[in-house]
Amino acid sequence: MSSNAHDLNSIRAAARADTEVNFGFWIYLMSDVIIFSMLFLVYVDLSQRYAGGPTAADVFELRGVFLETMALLLSSLTFGMAMVNLHQGQKERVVIWLGVTFVLGAFFLGHELSEFAHLIHEGASFTRSGFLSAFFGLVGTHGAHVFFGLVWIVVMVVQIKLRGLTPPVASRLARLSLFWHFLDLVWICVFSTVYLPGVLQGVAA
């Protein structure tokens, strides 16, 4: 990639956070923050309203959630590796690290879906109580975001394969990176607002 000195500069420029289009994505993320904060509020409001159904301590199982969390946190790191390689213009390595990120994200999502399926099977579905509606609403919205993140990763891998690391592709990767790290951040809040207090309640009782 010796002839690409100029390209590398334009790739780096396109990935900067303050370019017009990336800045707009920041603003969009701020509106997404409001979406999540509303769902957090709803959860906190409804988190004790069991309506005679299962309680938080009954339905949460920390071991699986811990694995899930580790997978997602690790995926942020692997996405970071993809971005480092993007800045060096290493096309193949970007694809590999995106692939690793995809696998970790898919593991997270798969685990979450199996947790949901298990809960519904046990009779702890979202129609059971206000608490469970709020739980499925908040965690499900995060999961839907992860799903769209996965779709986006696939699209970006295809674009890298077809186009190479052009400035528009680099610019999109920068936004996907923001999106992915944002989801990680939200998950940390989910973990500490939903799962930890829920399990602690069980311990206290």
């Binding site: 701020m30 409001i34 979406i35 709803v42 409001d45 206000g130």
Partner: protein, 693 residues
Amino acid sequence: MFGKLTLDAFTHSSLIIVFANVIMVGTGLLVIGLLTYFRKWGYLYREWFTTVDHKKIGVMYIFIALIFLLRGFIDAAMVRAQQATAGPGMEGYLEAHHFAELFTGHGTMMIFFMAMPFIVGLMNIAIPLQIGARDVSYPLLNAISLWLTAAAGALVMISLLIGQFSEAGWSGYTPFSGLDHSPSVGVDYWIWALQISGISTTLTGVNFLVTILKKRAPGMSFMRMPMFTWTSLCTTILIVLSFPALTVALALLALDRSAGTHFFTGTMGGDQMMYINMFWVWGHPEVYILVLPVFGVFSEVVTTYCNKRLFGYKSMVWATMAIAFLSFTVWVHHFFTMGQDPLRNAAFGIATMVIAIPTGVKIYDWIWTMFRGRIEFKLPMLWTLGFIITFTMGGMSGVLLAIPGADYKMHNSLFLVAHFHNVLIPGTMFGLLAGFYYWFPKAFGFKLDEKWGRHSFFGWLVGFYVAFVPLYMLGMMGMPRRMASYENPVWHFWLVIAAIGALIVAYGIFAMFMQIYVSYRDREKNRDLSGDPWGGRTLEWSIASPPPEYNFAIIPEVHDRDAFMYMKVHNTAYQRPERYEDIHMPKSTPIAIVIAGLAFVFGFAYVWHIWWLAGLCLLGVIGAVIARSFNPEPEYVIPAEEVERTENAFHDKVAQDGALERMKHIESFGDERSAYAATPEPSTTGTQSEKPL
């Protein structure tokens, strides 16, 4: 296959609805027929449906707004007519559920499909021109926003024909809007119309926030932005921060109604008041989303027609910011009667009253701008004066309602209805019509008729007082809002007066459409050759009317708050550059109408629980976005020669109009000329706050 949709949905018990449908479908078929007969479809598709030009998008937004102004007004007039004829011993002419659909439809349409599109339309037309930009930051996103609004409006329209609209009021309070109490599809139509238009507004908010922050011409620091741009900036911030709350509230309500969840239900652990909190966490900022840009319009109008710099520009900016901030701190005043403790009510009551202070600052700034100005009593000035007086009164009744104790008495009464119409009609409608007149020549190249405009103004002003002062009195007499019939004979007289007021407003609306027609007929006589029909002060008046698609052949340099006035005083306006350059502009694309079309079908399918269709549409939207991401941003180039030809034609017209002569004789009022002369050159601009971002 078709979910809940059966032939029953097409039958209507009320003859009035059947009649309305005949008119709606008939008008639709007539328009389609005429367009086909005159072979206009190709033109419409190429020039309008697929365009990403912010000026055309703005015009289409206002077109949508005018259609819904008519529909929303018809609903209001029917509500007034019902209450005037449904007193003791009288039947009225509407069934109660139809009456409920009417007041729900009126509020929904006036807020979401009249005021919002009108405001966004004015922003689209004016802001890129005011800041010296060639387009908004994301032209395609802008087109998507427009067509999503149109799709949402179409959902409201089709609810008249298939099924019914919501009866739960424009705010759709739970538990009444829940499935137990409102099992029909009306609330679902309401949810998806609001959801789609809300997403459209959020996208617009992101778009214009970035546009204003990133696309200003060199030299235009924050403290040199025109007031309309400033107030719109604050509005876009409010949009980005508040509309997602509505999105979540509506989404959860939709889940309650279709998936059996218990977010807002009265049973199984749902929290009804949560919905009402979430609705007003959006709803109160929304009030300022509607009113702040219009404050900006008034500021532009007052400076232009008083031929004077805006008095207290900085205080105006800070007042706008203060209002934007405070708008998030008052939402509980919409339900003081919820049952929270008095301390909390007192805090929100005080926060509400505090808003009157920055608003008062603005009122005084406008008055002081007029003071010793050379006032030209053009139509927008009339709207402004009507606004200042009427709005101040409405604000006073708001301060009254902000006292929790008093609110217990007025809550849900017609006093409240009178109050919010008393702020929204002058604060939004009057300003929108002032802005409409003010920027119309910029968008179309000819001025609006003054005479019919004055008829419209007096129709609105007099009609407003006749219609709403009685409502204040009825509220004090204890009449609740939204009553399909009543037994108190004392109320009847005042409701008849209010209905007469609605008739006078009807004349105002008729006169407005006459104004548009007459102006179009006499357009050759009212041409705006110079692009500066009012002696304007900001950049949009420095270019041709209507502007070429690229707006500015050369991006201007800004030396002053009133950038164009500075150029005129310094004889640097209308200068031709040594050479022109090629200009790159984004290409038209049908993708926006495809996405919006899918969104419309998605909404319709969700309303009727046609899940396969809803799923397909959702996939279609995602697919369209992905497909688009594979196309490199399509652009076309306007060659320098063509730019030169267009600009030369404009300069010829400017000379023909005598604008260059006029420029030499800009009269000095107050210390006008010296004020501009004293403005330091940009290189020596001193303070930190004056520097470009």
